[in-house]
Symmetry: C2
Subunit: 85 residues, 2 copies
């Protein structure tokens, strides 16, 4: 078993309403950042886990995303990186 | 002016309590993912903005993080990428 660090981005599905992103964009413009066009707010999850190899660590994290971490109706996820701890 | 897409990771500061990460780790182990050792949950913010060049886009986003996006007491942020839209 090796320890791996896997990072995941979970983002609101493209085209769905993202009220948190809209609120942040409006606030930034109010603060004077006039160049801001659009903001999307998702989650950045970093998992440390023991697995036989990088491929099985990645497979386990994909399963975790489908089962618990991401909302399958409203969110998409992508693995941003898998590296040994 | 060029449009840039800048992504930022905002994470709980190392060593501070991360109750959301702990809750996720416990839930994953309860679901049968026994290999999970530690989980940290932060935010993944993607900003689209107009700026003169990549360097000023990056500078603007760092300022946004210090002023609004990240909590200066409990969170750290890092720019994960700057690319033309």
């Amino acid at each position: 078993m090796t320890r791996f660090v896997v990072s995941v981005h979970i983002v609101p599905r493209q085209g769905l309403l993202d009220p948190q992103g809209k609120a942040v964009a409006d606030s930034l413009r109010t603060l004077g950042f006039a160049g801001v066009r659009d903001v999307h707010v998702g989650r950045h999850v970093v998992l440390e886990l023991d697995a036989a190899d990088a491929a099985s660590a990645e497979r386990a994290v994909r399963e975790m995303c489908s089962h618990l971490l991401a909302n399958p109706v409203t969110e998409d996820f992508e693995l941003a990186g898998v590296r040994p701890a």
